[in-house]
Amino acid sequence: MEPLSWTGSIAFLNPVLAIALAGLILSILAWILINIATTEGPVIVNPDGTLKSAAGPRGLAQTALRFTFLASVLLALAYIVLGVFLGSNAGIVGAISQQFLPVWVSLIIVFAMSVAFKRRLGLYGKLFDSPVGMIGFGLVMFWVFTGIFGALDLIVTHDPLVQVSGMKNKVPGTPLPNLDESQYAWYLLGGDNLARDVFSRMVKGAWIVVQIAPLATLFAFMVGITLGLPAGYYGGRLDTLLSFLANLILAFPVILLFYLLVTPEIIATGVPNYMAAVLFVFPIIFVGVLLNSRYYTRPNFRTPLLIGVLGVAIWLYLSLISTGGYVINTKDYAIWGLPTFMDLFDVPGGILVVFVSVVFVNSPTVFRIVRGLAMDIKTRDYVAAAQTRGEGPWYIMLWEILPNARGPLIVDFCLRIGYTTILLGTLGFFGLGLPPESPDWGSTINEGRKLLSIYLHPALPPALALLSLVLGLNLLADGLREESLKD
């Protein structure tokens, strides 16, 4: 097999793309400079009542920007489309784009459906009015689909853990020696210092993030909301105590906490299991109180509902915290948990401790946000109206205050997933928690950085992947904020 070049048979597009990109950069610069230098020109009113800027240097720069931007986007699309059809004939770019085929298809379906029905989808639909939000959503969904399909072994080309001799630190596009039938012929993004496929590791790494980050953020929100609402609503001593605890955790340098908590020795003592047992109770309390406060006036509807929902929730909770029949199993003592035959899933100790610490670090910030929002909303008349008709405090908190705080919370949720992704990367970077051979982005960057001055290819793909995912989440949050303010 021949080594692959970057673009193969579609190399003729390269100069065109270079010109388009150069044009784009130039027109951005010109646009900024012209806008600083000149004042706003006269504005023309169109017959349909909209406004249009008049021609002139400003208008010109804007038009140039639009065209070069469109050209660059179209060219990028051309690379992808040609790549999908030509595959490895179109070089590394083509091969990668072909591997990502399921992701492209899913993205097209999601966008087409969303744009078609955007008026009926509430805030989510409005996202498709904002270009920033759309770009962000696209980036995020790209990695979500990559994660999911990667986990289904659709995108990856090699086993991310298997070392192939002779492939150590090989550059992108290197063909495998001693190729056998079932193997993919190249290391598309090269091999790392243990001769594993960088491309497959990056794709598999997405799955770890996509699995843990949103879930951990969700748990952090449950904890933050369950504690933040009463702190903000009641105020007083409860607030002082909870705020003190939250500040305590916030004053702890995150990295120190990780170093103390995420070690094999701590896992052996069972401390993370205790923390998990405490932290994971909050969603159950949350759901239970939520339903009870709403339906307590109708006991014959509420009681079966609560039994059903809480039963399932408690089962999941016990499955989550117990491993091999024990909640805690250390050398000296053990606490019995759910018997193995009822245990739905086991979480490895390493993952559990990472999960718990990330939730633990995030929840005080959520707590502070929720507390602030609750303090603000509780002065509204509709809260007073609920009080004067004798509603319980939890109904007011969960059904009168919380739904009206959802805007800022959704925005923060997106930002926080990004932040959690960064935290996970930090953990990986210091080799904490996850097993050393794990393909997560942080660990991969850490391994790659040691030889960075000679070999770029092992460290850069995961770094750029992480960057684009977090950027997508930030843009998504910005788009959401903008659109939710427009009401």
């Binding site: 120190l256 908590l261 701590i266 950085r449 001055s453 770029l456 992480l466 960057l467 930030n474």
Partner: protein, 348 residues
Amino acid sequence: MGLFILRRFGVMLLTALCLTFVVFFLTNLYPNLEKLAKTQGNQRMSDEQVETWLENRGYRQPMLVKYGQWLGVMPGFTNTLDDGQFVGTCARPGVAPEDTPKFCGVLQGEWGYSTVFKDDVGGIVSKRLGNTGYLMFWVLVLMVPSALIVGILAGMREGSVLDRSLSTFSIITTATPEYVSGVIFIAIFTSSTVGLKWFKGTATQAMDNPTFENFFLPVLTIALYGMGYIARMTRASMTEVMTAQYIRTARLKGVSFPTIVMKHALRNALIAPFTVIMLQFPWLLNGVVIVETLFNYKGFGWALVQAAGNNDIQLLLAISVVSVFVVLLTQLISDIGYVYLNPRIRIS
């Protein structure tokens, strides 16, 4: 005001006590002690040997007693081993048992003895802190003014071209954690593959002889990540102020736009970001640890990694005390500064 600061100090002390106890508790859990015994003594010790080793050196005393000894409110543990070696919390190599002080806790100014560096913790911490302080100084010099300028320029005219370009820039920097930007910088500016070689990929020499070449990249890496966040906060605050009614009053009073920005908007717009900058410190510490590891700069963060990796209890405790105090001090400064900047609270 005095009472307020006093109260804040009280809360600070309480927080520091709680946090150090948590660190103390976690580092003194049995598996950690076992690891310590094996690294200090012998990797192949049996469980009983570990137990005796720990017993002899006072590690098996009750947690609170040990904490009290560390604080210096309880007399230090002493013991003479079977082979005549004198050990104890206050014992130092080369110091005779008679000269060993009775108390040797934080209150006596004794930070303990590092098992990794075989040196006094106080000395190690102050030396490493000096290195990091130098780094942080330049980070702040680079980060704060540029973040404020970017934020104010962007928020001055909401929705303008300048705003949109600067906002995009700040979003990108907030999405780039230090270990990503650092890797990218090293790849672009130092590697032989790209061949620019403008800067050095390590900052090891910067400890003795900092130059632009070996010191700029670590500073830039930390500054960029924090900058985006502060800039976005400043922008948000600035746009809010610029739509406030008193700005319209000023405009309709005939005040020119530059004067409005400088005299009327700036002070009000800086109140929120000031708090943010100060609360940014715990996160900056994160960045310091990452960057010092990445660029091999032996500062405070590097010491933290060494201490934590080897369960060096005394050093780890000292490091957490210092970092907790840095965080709490900045919180205190942020409170005082907030009160100072905001006359609505200052005079009431």
